[in-house]
Symmetry: C3
Subunit: 299 residues, 3 copies
């Protein structure tokens, strides 16, 4: 159940895929593996104790993936400390309630909450954390690689590392080998999923490059991960894979990459982070619109 | 009807409770009593004139409570002036329309608008007010006690005053004796309501203390009032009171207190205030999630 | 279909009205006409290719109006460049998907998306655009006439130009003669529509003046256009025209004008613009509330 919860971050109900993802998290840093597990266990346990539907929700891991990301995200932005562990546990509990709330609210439209609970909980903690003397470490908030080396000139290294990092950043990892292990996990889930993820990562990177994003950000995969999630969600996962839906998913992946900067600028004002907000908002929009279009069909 | 409207701020349809609350408002300052009444009367009258359901909405005071808070909030942030009175009247009219709109939008999920109309109207007026030469007084916006005396060391005075202020801040009052009168009103409504409110205020204060909030803010009750409203809403009012729902309400109260800082930081950028946004957002989330959990039941 | 799409910005399914509006756009500047057309054609074509309902949506122009505004808005804020044309095309495609998504989400409440897709796409592009080296021109963002000449003293010129500009600003135009041509188009659509638009523009302007807005902003029509759209929407278009609904629409028009400053202050922080957000949010609220009020009826 826990490993399925980790795999469900990319919509896969396969425990072996979750195991590979967990290995990739440990490859990125022991703290990401430990805190990710802590979040996944807490969220799943909360759903179980509150009496969520066992066979439909808890067993397939649908109650664990936001908790996983909350654990990884909070340890990245708040550092490895006991207070962070406490916040991950409480955040995963609230994330679990939020997951259920979104499922109820979105059910009439056949949408799910995606990673929105992770985005909400992490944004609230990171934005509000600066006000609390015992939450904010002095050297926290330095995590994401940003415009340290300004310039639009993209090198070959930026391109290939950015492509792998675009997959690794789904779990907030920016080591290309971690991204490679995540990709291996996706290929294990199915050749098509791996291929769509790889192509979407390149699409996101090229969108950022075309618009004139900083090369360092492209190399860190910051324009790729929302495109990967959107591409996989809109092609084969929630939408039937056809030539028309390939164009639809491509449009979604490009939109998610372009949206990244808008969300980033918005949250930068209050010290928040982009997270997977672009994926969530773009995918909700593109899925909600499907019933109006005779050429596109939901799975 | 008007007194019931004031009592409904804390979900009580009892006119005597409303009378005690009104006395507490006058104890906090004559202008809070007068402008609160102005808002309550305007909102109730608007709903009546537009033809809202009389026995279900107008008579139980459900159309008056946001107006009360709009009156109290605007006079606090904009000062006692004729323009403020005009804005309270117009704000209460719009708040009444917003109350009905939220009721329609949230009905499929069995949620109500809570104090969201107050939050929306007050936020819009306070944020936008700075752009208008005749709205913003020179010495306005100095109202809420903030980090004047920085430091995390909580004294005994902070603790007991903060507990009462945590109840008074529901109506934006920060005199401990006003909070005490509000508590008396809640006890009049029922022993359990008073006890839940008192316990929730302590829970909110301790949450803030644990996370490292400023002692002056704790003493002013700024971490208590959203917890009080959330605790009362989730234990006995909208959710059946059971041991399981006590833990659920406790989680909600802690979340609302922690959320306070996030909302505060967010609105500080544009000159807005926290108001009861944390209560509204947390309670909506926790109530919406109930149908997914077999251990928790709506009333 | 394309001309109807332009006319639908003000809810008119009449191609001749669209032709007059297009002439007004060209009167404001050739680039507004060309980019507006580009957006309208792209959005309508996208909806057609995705298989949107032909007779209900595509033919009456309901798929074109957000695209028109996206074209006009992006060329205003990003300048006349090839990259802007590319962004208009892609923005209109995404705007078309967003239009369908909102229609699905709002259908249970009998609401439509109004100009929200235009607001969302333009806000995202303008806010995020600053992060992209190839999107943001050096001299961009200087477009809207703002507090260049501070002062609350409104002259006769401010009054009459502001009244016409309040209509022209619906299409982001601030030349009074462009506003006059738009008004002519509305009169062509029907005497009552023209009269309601003119009256609403005056109402918005006077609301801003009463609250103490800058006279230069009043003269530029910045307090009028949201009132015009709200007034026309709430009186005769979506709500049956009665004496009661006239007061309701008047309240809405005043609210939209007052709301303008709040939205403006909020977006100014991140470099966004007010656009027609006040109209969208106020009209959604006032339309959603109608079922609760026995005195007001939907068409």
């Amino acid at each position: 159940m826990i490993l399925r919860g980790i795999a469900q971050v990319v919509f896969q109900p396969n425990p072996w895929v979750g195991l590979v993802f967990l290995a990739a998290l440990f490859a990125g840093g022991w703290q990401f593996g430990v805190f990710g597990l802590l979040g996944a266990v807490t969220a799943t346990l909360t759903a179980y104790l509150l009496g969520a539907a066992r066979s439909e929700r808890v067993v397939p891991g649908l109650e664990g993936f936001s908790g996983t990301l909350i654990g990884v995200g909070l340890v990245l932005y708040l550092d490895t400390r006991w207070m962070t562990a406490l916040l991950v546990i409480f955040g995963a509990v609230v994330g679990s309630v939020l997951t259920s709330a979104l499922d109820v609210l979105l059910k009439p439209y056949r949408l799910s909450g995606l990673t929105a609970p992770f985005c909400v909980v992490t944004t609230v903690v990171v934005v509000g954390g600066t006000a609390f003397g015992r939450v904010w470490a002095e050297h926290a908030g330095t995590a994401p690689p940003s415009t340290a080396a300004p310039g639009l000139g993209m090198s070959w290294t930026h391109l290939w590392q950015g492509t792998f990092n675009g997959i690794g950043q789904i779990f907030l990892q920016n080591q290309w080998y971690a991204g490679l292990i995540f990709l291996a996990g996706l290929v294990l889930a199915g050749w098509r999923v791996g291929l769509v993820a790889l192509a979407s990562s390149v699409v996101g990177l090229l969108t950022g490059w075309l618009l004139g994003a900083q090369a360092a950000d492209l190399g860190a995969g910051l324009y790729g991960y929302n495109s990967v999630l959107t591409g996989v969600a809109l092609f084969g996962t929630f939408v039937v894979a056809t030539p028309a839906s390939a164009v639809y998913a491509l449009t979604g992946a490009v939109t998610a990459a372009g949206f990244t900067a808008g969300i980033g600028e918005l949250f930068a004002v209050v010290g928040g982070h982009t997270l997977t907000w672009p994926f969530v908002l773009v995918t909700w929009t593109f899925l909600a619109a499907v019933p109006m279009f005779s050429r596109i069909a939901r799975t």
